[in-house]
Each structure stands twice: as structure tokens, then as C-alpha cells.
């Protein structure tokens, strides 16, 4: 092969490498967008089972749904029985989710244990906590996996996280609980099956 041909070939190979590189960057971006929009479940957790991720364990301690749930004692009026229950909208139910969270690894910073909790039905619909009812229902005080306000969770001592959702009654029996974990080395998605 002549020196001129070798130079031409080198140029073409460099161009090809640039095109392949650009294509790979594009694919990587597309993958990132796809993962963000439809995060895959990393671990499916059955009833009573515990999942451990990056030094922290998670367990679905309670899953209950009903048209009415008891009001938090601090919000009840002793002279008025009518506010003993928090009611869902007609045709809907309130769902109480209680998670037991335990920091097992002392090296894991408790302030970094973030979890985003949602409910999901078989059709892929997603529910977040309902701010109009969540604070009124009787449940554990902690609302995030970083622990109760002003109290750092101790290693080996589990604490409960309580959240309330409102969903159409027709789907209340078909829901799973999803935890999107962040703050550690990796982002992980856990799915808890209540039954």
C-alpha cells in the first residue's frame, strides 16, 4: 500500500470512528431518557420480606386501605365524634403504607437515605401521597427514610415511615408500593407486593 493510500485510509477510519462515537453517545442519551421515564424494578419484594440496599433494610410493615381511616389523636376534638375518621372522596379509598426502615451499616450517612414512595397499579398508573389527607390520618410520624424530624435513626434500630394515599376504590386491591432509592452510590427501585 502506498503512503498516500494509507493516509486516505487513516482519514476514512477516523471519520468512521467519529460517526460511531457520535452514535454511541446518542444511544447512551436515549438509554438515559428511557431509564428516567420508565425506571425498571431492581428488586421485587414479597409480603413480609425485607430488602437490603447499601446498608439499609426496607420492609413493608403495613398496607391497609378503606374508605375511612382513624384521625391522628392530636387532631381529634374530644367533644366531637364526627372527626374521628378521615374520609376519602366518594368512590375512592385511603391507602395507609407503613415501611420499616433500619440502618444496618454504620458507615451509611442517615441523612443520605432518600426514598421516593409511590403506588402503582397494573396499568402503570402512579399515585403520590395525598397532601389533603396524609397529615390528618393516624400513622407513624416519620414521612421519609431519613427518619423522624430532629431524631437521627440509630444503627440497628428500625423506625417506621407512614404515608397516606388516595386512589379510586376499584384499584385499591391491585396496588404495589414502589420505593425509588437515592442518596447512595446507586439509584435503585424496589417494588413491594402487599399480597
Amino acid at each position: 500500500m502506498t503512503a498516500r493510500r494509507r493516509r486516505t485510509l487513516t482519514r476514512w477510519l477516523l471519520c468512521l470512528a467519529a460517526v460511531v462515537f457520535a452514535g454511541l453517545v446518542g444511544l447512551w442519551q436515549a438509554q438515559a431518557i428511557w431509564d428516567f421515564r420508565r425506571p425498571a424494578v431492581d428488586q421485587s419484594v414479597g409480603p413480609g420480606e425485607t430488602a437490603v440496599e447499601e446498608g439499609v433494610s426496607y420492609r413493608l410493615a403495613r398496607f391497609a386501605h378503606a374508605p375511612d381511616l382513624p384521625t391522628a389523636p392530636s387532631l381529634r376534638d374530644p367533644s366531637d365524634d364526627s372527626d374521628d375518621l378521615v374520609s376519602a372522596l366518594g368512590g375512592a379509598e385511603l391507602v395507609l403504607v407503613v415501611l420499616s426502615v433500619e440502618r444496618r451499616d454504620p458507615a451509611r450517612d442517615p441523612k443520605s437515605v432518600f426514598c421516593d414512595v409511590t403506588l402503582r397499579d397494573p396499568a402503570g398508573r402512579t399515585w403520590r401521597t395525598d397532601g389533603t389527607v396524609d397529615y390528618r390520618v393516624d400513622k407513624p410520624a416519620a414521612v421519609s427514610c431519613t427518619g423522624p424530624v430532629n431524631r437521627t435513626p440509630k444503627v440497628g434500630v428500625p423506625f417506621e415511615v407512614g404515608l397516606v394515599f388516595q386512589v379510586p376504590a376499584a384499584v385499591a386491591d391491585q396496588l404495589t408500593v414502589r420505593l425509588r432509592l437515592s442518596g447512595g452510590q446507586e439509584r435503585r427501585v424496589l417494588e413491594f407486593r402487599p399480597r
Binding site: 486516505t8 482519514r11 438515559a32 431518557i33 428516567f36 421515564r37 372522596l89 366518594g90 368512590g91 375512592a92 402503570g124 398508573r125 402512579t126 399515585w127 403520590r128 395525598d130 397532601g131 389533603t132 394515599f165 388516595q166 386512589v167 379510586p168 376504590a169 376499584a170 384499584v171
Partner: protein, 187 residues
Amino acid sequence: MTRRRWRVGVLPAVGALALVAALTAATPDLTSPPRQWVSLAVGETGTLRDVALRVTEVNQASAVEVRGEPLTSTAVFVVVGMEADVLVAPASFSRVALETRSGDRYDPRPEWISAEPPQTQPGFTVRGTWVFEVPAARVAGARLLVENEPREFDGYDRGLRIDLALDDTTPVEGPVRLADASIRTTQ
């Protein structure tokens, strides 16, 4: 420089630069994410990722009631009634604006927060009202823009552009009273 070197080296570089210049000129203004707008009229339902939304009523008023007192304006209050079925994920209707013919955009006035649609979850239908304050000369032809919730990677998403059929009609004088937003279960 030989003719061959010109052909192999400089010409493709000039072509590439011209292509970059053409793409830059053709690219829309990225200060706001590019949208695929769906045009609708009052009463028609448009579907975004998380909601199916329709405008049910449009009124022009010179006064709207706030906590029992009339709030008047030398401009015009455009009062837009809406209804939306939430489909897949919670919707908070945070990207809503009134766009005039000249391209100016107005956010809803904050005084009527209880009438505005609150965050609503899938399987529920919300009814609410947005109130925009617009100079009288800019009301005619204004359209309502509704976009998906902000999130990462939301370029080239869909948006609804609803023709509110606004003209130079004199606004209603008496203060308009707005109902609070309401939510009902749909499925």
C-alpha cells in the same frame, strides 16, 4: 495548496461549517423547550401525557370577587373554566399561560388559588378556574397554553393550544364569583 488537497481537506470542512450554521439558524429558541402544539377549541378535549383536558367556559370580566370583595382592574380579567381527567401520574397544572396574538404570555393571577385546579391523582377528575389579567387591547385572539409538568428531558413534548374565541366584547361589569376547585373520582 494543490487542487486535490483543497477538494479533500478544505471543501468538506467548509461544508461542515455551513451545515452547522444552517442547523443553528433553523433551531428553535431553546430558552423555552420546543413543543409540538395541538390546536383545540373551547369544549374540545386534548390529551397530554398525564391529563385529558378541556376548557368548559370562558368569560371576560372587569371585576372578580376575592374573599367577598370585588377586585377590579383597568385591564380585563379572562376567566377560564376547565375540567381534566388525570390519566397516568399526578398532575399539578403548573405550566399554564395565556398567549396573546403578539406572543406575550400571562400567568394566572395568584389571588384565586382556591379556584385553580390543585394537584390531582390518576383516576380523578378536577374542575377549576384560571384567571388572567390582560390589557384590553391584547385580549382578542388570545389562546390558552397548557403544557406537561416540568421534568428532565422534556423537549419536543406535546402542548395544548386552546383558542378561547376571545374578541373585543365588553367585559361583564359585576364582580364574577368563582367556585372553589373540586375533585371527583372517575375510575
